[in-house]
């Protein structure tokens, strides 16, 4: 089979029945088998004739995914954890080969599957700009041309000659993003990279992305942030268990995503282990909403979380966010807002609780995000939209539902002065 480009391909990305399978025993998280385990397993096979010829199972991370994207589109890729979003980006970025199907990408492809790709901690910011830029696909001349702009964008100018291991993680990340933002590709693939960085910097990055799109480039980005998708993407792809189940305007796809992804209202959630726990050293275990009591407008709202540490933790912060079902963030509490950071020992179980003294949200349905992060940027474990919270009106009839025009209703005073 030769892969000649189909003659009717005029778009930016064309995917034809893309599929990616992994042998079951490797799985996605790849639990590596030791050499002796393979040998003993093969031997065991020889001596148990019942298993002869039995093929090992395959896990399809991606199955029959087809779509076409046109130049100038900004497309959001959504789906629950393990739905194949990241695998799709990796296949399109040529990081891993598809098992079946083909895809065609017109022009230069830039992939940003993680912020800081190619950074080396021992090298200076100056050196890392060249290293990371080249790895991401820029030529030396291009980097030299854009160098001043990259430095200006990152806002770390004075620290350029310092090994980046001595910079704060936030600064290193800003620099990394700046390099990537100056790739100027025809197609940009982004995997949740926007979820890092402070709000101001995020805004800058979105503006940059939009200017790409305006100039005719195509952006395909994975995110859990429905608010972002709603605001910026005209078209959304929804993946579920490796299949492309929805492809259409954000307004029609997002409700389906929320329907599929949203948990039913519950007061207690047992979390699956954080897949990145080995790296981040922290995994949430359990969450209890409002000590199991009904959540009511005007009353305190409490969240208890149990978690374990695998590594020692420093400068830790815990936060909860309540969002509307379309993903707009409404209220949040951060444990580090009083300026206190948490430090913890490794390999222990902890519990943390946060109480809003008074819940001002109007009665209705909301999604609860809980997250642990380090400093301002690095997410250690985040569970966006893990619980659907039903806010009820207060038990005394002090709340008049007819007037619930806005999302929140704070405690307020008013005065009438005769003039």
């Amino acid at each position: 089979m030769t892969s000649s480009t189909p003659s009717d391909f005029s778009g930016s990305i064309l995917a034809e029945k893309l599929g990616k399978s992994y042998p079951m025993r490797l799985g996605v998280g790849s639990t590596q088998l030791k050499f002796n385990e393979v040998v003993t397993r093969q031997l065991a096979r020889c001596f148990s004739p019942g298993q002869w010829g039995q093929k090992q199972g395959y896990f399809w991370a991606l199955k029959d995914v087809s779509f076409e994207i046109h130049p100038g589109e900004l497309i959001g890729l959504v789906g629950s954890n393990g739905s194949g979003k990241s695998t799709l980006l990796k296949v399109l970025a040529k990081v891993t080969k598809p098992t079946t199907g083909r895809a065609f990408l017109r022009g230069r492809v830039g992939s940003l599957l993680e912020v800081g790709t190619g950074f080396h901690p021992e090298l200076t910011g100056f050196e890392n700009i060249y290293l990371s830029g080249t790895i991401l696909g820029m030529s030396r001349a291009e980097i030299a041309k854009n160098f001043d702009e990259i430095v200006a964008f990152s806002e770390i100018g004075p620290f350029l000659q310092i090994p980046i291991k001595r910079l704060s993680s936030g600064m290193a990340m800003r620099l990394a993003f700046s390099v990537a933002a100056h790739l100027n590709p025809d197609i940009l693939l982004i995997d949740e990279a926007l979820s890092v960085g402070d709000a101001g910097f995020q805004k800058k990055c979105i503006a940059k992305m939009q200017s790409f799109v305006a100039s005719g480039a195509t952006v395909l980005f994975v995110t859990h942030d429905i608010g972002l998708v709603n605001k910026w993407c005209k078209r959304v792809l929804l993946l579920d268990k490796g299949h492309l189940v929805e492809d259409g305007p954000a307004l029609s796809v997002i409700p389906k995503y929320l329907q599929a992804a949203n948990p039913v209202t519950t007061y207690r959630v047992q979390f699956e282990k954080n897949p990145l726990a080995e790296k981040t050293g922290l995994s949430l275990r359990e969450l209890v909403v409002n000590s199991g009591e009904a959540v009511r407008h005007g009353l305190p709202f409490r969240v208890d979380v149990a978690f374990e540490t695998l590594l020692p933790q420093q400068r830790l912060a815990f936060s909860i966010v309540l969002s509307s079902l379309d993903g707009t963030k409404l209220v949040s509490c951060d444990s580090d807002l009083p300026g206190e950071k948490i430090s913890l020992e490794a390999n222990r179980n902890y519990g943390i609780s946060i109480t809003m003294r008074r819940l001002d949200l109007s009665p209705g349905s909301y999604l609860l995000d809980v997250a642990f992060r380090q400093d301002d940027a690095i997410s250690l474990d985040q569970r966006p939209g893990c619980v659907r919270v039903e806010v009820l009106p207060p038990e005394d009839d002090s709340y008049s539902p007819n007037l619930a025009a806005s999302g929140t209703r704070p405690v307020f005073d008013w005065t009438l002065n005769p003039s």
Binding site: F9, P98, F104, R106, V109, S111, G118, R140
Partner: protein, 278 residues
């Protein structure tokens, strides 16, 4: 503006001709990764780049004292220090190249899981970085030759083919071991052990003259060692000596070619699976 190129994503393997084209396309990245390896290696060291010369020099001195002074082995007419040092630096190009390459893909796991570039670049950059060490050591060798007032002959032209051959051999073995090591980390340990063993059967610190004197009938066996030929060719460029055995070199060269082809094919077979099995 030229018509933008089209990237094709498919399950097919990258052809060997494409690998050749990639070599040209990704040369910037290759040189940058070599530079990264070199500049990171000696960061936060006190004597920095002197380590490059210190290592082979110290081992050459030790062997010169033991074999040259105490045991009094023949050394093809060279002062034993020159003999041992020349052997050490060409062996170092081979052994360090393989040693750095064998763990290279695993060390850059985060990189290859997140961005595409031809995978051979990483081990090749590791081997490439040893060329710089080798060049520095060679300059020191020239200084030593001048100090001993050893005349430089036309045989010096053999320096280049010997170095290229060793570089290719180390690159091929480095590629194969790095790819195998991505799946089973045993291979790196195996390589380190294998290199140690192979140094003893290679004419690094002693001359095959010794074997020719004792068991001439077994000499051919020694030349099945892929490094035997290149080391002797390298030393020929220094000594211009008549001890160079053409048939031995030819045997070794044939083994080299077989090893290179097998290793490149091994890498090519494993290349696509690296990212999924690492």
């Amino acid at each position: 503006m030229h018509e933008p190129s089209i990237t094709i994503v498919s399950p097919e393997k990258t052809s060997l001709t494409q690998m050749g084209r990639d070599f040209f396309r990704y040369r910037d990245l290759l040189f940058l990764l070599i530079w990264r390896e070199v500049s990171v290696r000696y960061k936060q060291t006190a004597v920095g780049i002197f380590w490059v010369v210190l290592q082979p020099m110290l081992s050459a001195i030790i062997f010169a004292v033991v074999f040259g002074l105490f045991v009094k082995l023949p050394s093809e007419g060279l002062p034993y220090l020159v003999f041992a040092y020349s052997g050490t630096i060409i062996w170092g190009l081979f052994a360090q190249g393989i040693d750095r390459a064998s763990g290279s893909i695993v060390a850059d796991e985060q990189l290859i899981k997140r961005v595409y570039f031809p995978r051979w670049i990483i081990p090749m950059a590791s081997v490439g970085s040893t060329l710089i060490d080798f060049a520095i050591c060679t300059l020191v060798l020239v200084v030593i030759l001048l100090c001993y007032s050893i005349p430089l002959t036309w045989h010096l032209v053999f320096f280049l083919p010997a170095a290229i051959l060793v570089f290719l051999l180390a690159t091929a073995l480095g590629l194969a071991i790095a790819a195998l090591n991505a799946k089973y980390r045993d291979f790196r340990l195996l390589a380190a052990f294998g290199l140690q063993i192979f140094q003893f059967v290679s004419p690094v610190f002693y001359s095959f003259q010794n074997i020719a004197n004792v068991r001439p009938d077994l000499l051919w066996l020694m030349y099945l060692n892929p490094m035997a030929g290149p080391i002797e060719l390298f030393r020929l460029s220094v000594t211009g000596s008549s001890h160079f055995l053409m048939t031995g070199f030819a045997t070794s060269l044939a083994v080299d070619l077989i090893v290179i082809v097998l290793c490149v094919r091994t890498f090519h077979t494993l290349e696509d699976d690296i990212v999924d099995t690492i």
